[in-house]
Symmetry: C2
Subunit: 366 residues, 2 copies
Amino acid sequence: MKINGTWYRPIWPDEDDPGLVRVIDQRRLPHEFAVLDIRDVDTAIFAIKDMVVRGAPLIGATGAWAMVLALRACPGGDQDAWLGREAARIAAARPTAVNLAWAVDRVAAAVRGAEDPEERISLARQLALEIADNEAECCRMIGVHGLPLVRDIHKKTNKTVNILTHCNAGWLACVDYGTATAPVYAAHDAGVPVHVWVDETRPLNQGARLTAFELAAHGVPHTVVTDNAGGHLMQHGMVDMVIVGTDRTTRTGDVANKVGTYLKALAARDNSVPFYVALPSSTIDWNMEDGVREIPIETRDPDEVRFVQGLFDGALVKVLVPPEKSQALNVAFDVTPARLVTGLVTERGVCGAGEKEILGLFPERA
Amino acid sequence: MKINGTWYRPIWPDEDDPGLVRVIDQRRLPHEFAVLDIRDVDTAIFAIKDMVVRGAPLIGATGAWAMVLALRACPGGDQDAWLGREAARIAAARPTAVNLAWAVDRVAAAVRGAEDPEERISLARQLALEIADNEAECCRMIGVHGLPLVRDIHKKTNKTVNILTHCNAGWLACVDYGTATAPVYAAHDAGVPVHVWVDETRPLNQGARLTAFELAAHGVPHTVVTDNAGGHLMQHGMVDMVIVGTDRTTRTGDVANKVGTYLKALAARDNSVPFYVALPSSTIDWNMEDGVREIPIETRDPDEVRFVQGLFDGALVKVLVPPEKSQALNVAFDVTPARLVTGLVTERGVCGAGEKEILGLFPERA
């Protein structure tokens, strides 16, 4: 997608320097546009942990590139053992999104047969490019399959379709197009009038900072609201549908997404508002059946709750909100049970949030 | 209640100057303790609108004192007509809490028979003191009636009772003790171990700023969480009960409270967590039956959503979070339908959230 007319992805390999991967520093958006240079595994892990990059698909792509950098740094000896240790470090950077472990495992498997270090690097590099391209293509297809859902509402109401989303499951999270935003962009580009309610998404405000930034850059009408507002909006008919992303989806359709998603799903159900989850199948954990019990939920630094970052006097600063001595808890995700999900929008089509329905689209997983 | 060992109420008349009412400036807590001097109706209206004072009971008390100041400024002529115009201005300062109009009307009615300006001022002053004292006493009784609810949970579990609350319905909002916090303080003081999950309560963070401040000052263990976190906490058995306040309650038990309350009520219901609303009967609007349809919901300045206030470099500053050009909507309250409310904790006892149950405690309203 474009920023001020220039086409960007949130991650890309440098054209000239094979040891350099570059990412948009999402911690500083929307007020500053900065690029972080990643030349080693430690920096890649830092970028994932500190949320320079975030969003399940992008974390996966970053993990794949981290594996390329790991292979480049391999000191010789037992290459697979070295890579295994590096892979474990990378995969542990964030626990909730399944894409990270998935991408890292794929790269490890792809190079396992090769002996020549250069060949291993080349194979990994090719796969990292493929993973990123595949995420982008999946997102494009989510837009293709999600567009009719938006268009159908417009046909019924003949009014602007009001879509609520939580966090940022946009192109910044997903290499391109986004997951939750793909149907929005597709509808907007197809001339279906849409307006997006953007949950600010505390603590890190990825909605207010990133989703609003993306939508503004693409010219999609939107309004930022607090995370508290969605229930009221739905009670008063101001939301036609909810679309969110997911960091991990069980084979039964439970969905782990940014904390607070579950509350919006409850409000959608209470007000008969359709609640869709958009996802590339790379976020499906085929080994899990009970999301609330099984999906590991990341707890992050309490200071992300205590401090809020924003623009003051031309500079990005962090302000302390609660009393200095009050402690805080920072739970990053929650799980929305499948029973609250109207449908899953995947790269292969839309299905109900249930094992049978999901396997209908992905029969090879049966 | 006490701040650093000194007893305070959030509003009090100056001992020496009969034309001066003083309030704690709640906009600057917890990082600064400041007092605003109110000498005229305009300043009182400013204090209510700008949330120097906030919380339904305190807004009512402030409205009563504003009427005293209005009477002191009466230029002569038709005193009731003058007071009527001032009363309308004061009551319009904030639309959702019913206490404001209620307190203003009571003062207007109390002075209507009197001719002598000094007598009118004296009557109003006496009533303003009474209203504040009555709110404090109601809150104390809410604590008396709410304590057994907390104690019963402790008896069953023999563990610390985890109570989640939203916004600030503490003594800062309520002259003394608080509504939602009254059972918490009562339990803590009675030796029942409690821990409070404090929703930060965006946009103005009254939870993180004020509830955390109060609880810290009183020594009650507490943890600040984002408004998004409550659903996850309830899913994982980390919340034993929810207690919130209310700005207006219908005679049928629908509850208007700070926006986001409805989402917590939904999560409580979905996880079988008891959801209590604590209220003095002054917040009951005996003329309303359908809260979602009838209670006017205040929309406030979008900049309260766009900017977050906190401490930076020793000073209170406001930082801009979303892109400069993204618009925001600031809905201040939402309505929780009675069907989601386990019980109402009033100054006369606990009852179910239904017309019949409420009238059982307040038969004079039948």
